[in-house]
Symmetry: C2
Subunit: 197 residues, 2 copies
């Protein structure tokens, strides 16, 4: 038995939704280790190889890429119950392009790529979960691309507010602006205009 | 035996790369039917349910979404050896948001969602291929999102030219402009400027 305290959402996902039995779940859990990341520190930086999956037990992070002019662009945020990995690096084994920085002190549960691959073979329900997750990720990415192309900054802001209202309490405004592809000043004006509507 | 003439790239993918044996490959192929789409006609329109996978044997198409002001935005192009489906609609069973229009006369090879699901169980190599495909799609989508956010129109144009030089012979310039998120006039100027460099 492991001494890690797995959060209810994690337990429910694998034993409830995915239907792992007690033996499978304990076997799976036995491959995790805990990691803490202090606010502003990095879980992964561009150029490093992503060779583990990290479950966010507590805290939040931003995932960003850096362009040729050294400007940062935020692709994703992650909160409790999300998983962190540089997807391309994880699957290719090559150095990644993404940076993962903690925006609050974080507690992560880590499983290595090697252990996860072993578990996927031993526990078919884990494989099923990962298939489903990749499918959902694809759908989310297509919708995100579609949103980036078709919507106005105001629409993107309203969508984010609807989907993740808590984000504005936890993430600095300049990062939300980068995620939404608007200038921080425009986002401030937008928020004022909408809040007084 | 089916009377359909499967193209070499299709045969090589499933019998070569994915290693299906003769029996598996013939079983898989027996579930396909042919469909032709005339230039400018649609394979799928927004609001319809995507309940099949279509392999592009010949021709090319554009996949676009329509915003609230009735403006079209091109998400993808497809050429020979690509597959067409509205990914979200295919997996959710709900009406899709994407439109697929032929830019040339097209020949498609179609397999229904139901038959594909049956084949995935009977032929584990097919399941492996689809897993790999979803993984690649996720990587491509993350890179596309990253490109849309970080690069200039000129960089996006140069990337497209490098990856798909043939596209400029087959796809009207206004569609390429929509894909790249630039105005058609700007793309014309950009092309002139670069070709005289």
């Amino acid at each position: 038995m492991t001494a890690i305290d797995f959060p209810p959402l994690f337990v429910d996902l694998f034993t409830g939704k995915m239907g792992m039995d007690k033996r499978e779940f304990e076997l799976f859990c036995s491959h995790f280790r805990e990691m803490t990341i202090r606010k502003k520190d990095y879980y992964l930086k561009e150029g490093s190889i992503s060779n583990a999956k990290a479950y966010v037990k507590k805290g939040c992070s931003r995932t960003f890429v850096i362009d040729e002019n050294a400007k940062e662009h935020i692709l994703f945020f992650a909160f409790e119950d999300w998983w962190l990995a540089d997807f391309e690096s994880y699957h290719s084994g090559n150095p990644g392009k993404q940076n993962f920085q903690a925006l609050e002190d974080m507690e992560l549960l880590i499983i290595s790529k090697q252990d996860f691959a072993k578990m996927e073979i031993e526990i078919p329900k884990l494989r099923q979960w990962y298939d489903l997750k990749q499918r959902k990720m694809n759908i989310a990415m297509i919708n995100r691309l579609s949103e980036v192309k078709t919507s106005t900054p105001e629409e993107r802001y309203m969508n984010l507010l609807k989907k993740h209202p808590e984000i504005f309490q936890r993430v600095p405004l300049q990062y939300i602006a980068s995620y939404l592809d608007v200038e921080p000043q425009s986002l401030s004006r937008l928020r004022k205009r909408i809040s007084t509507k």
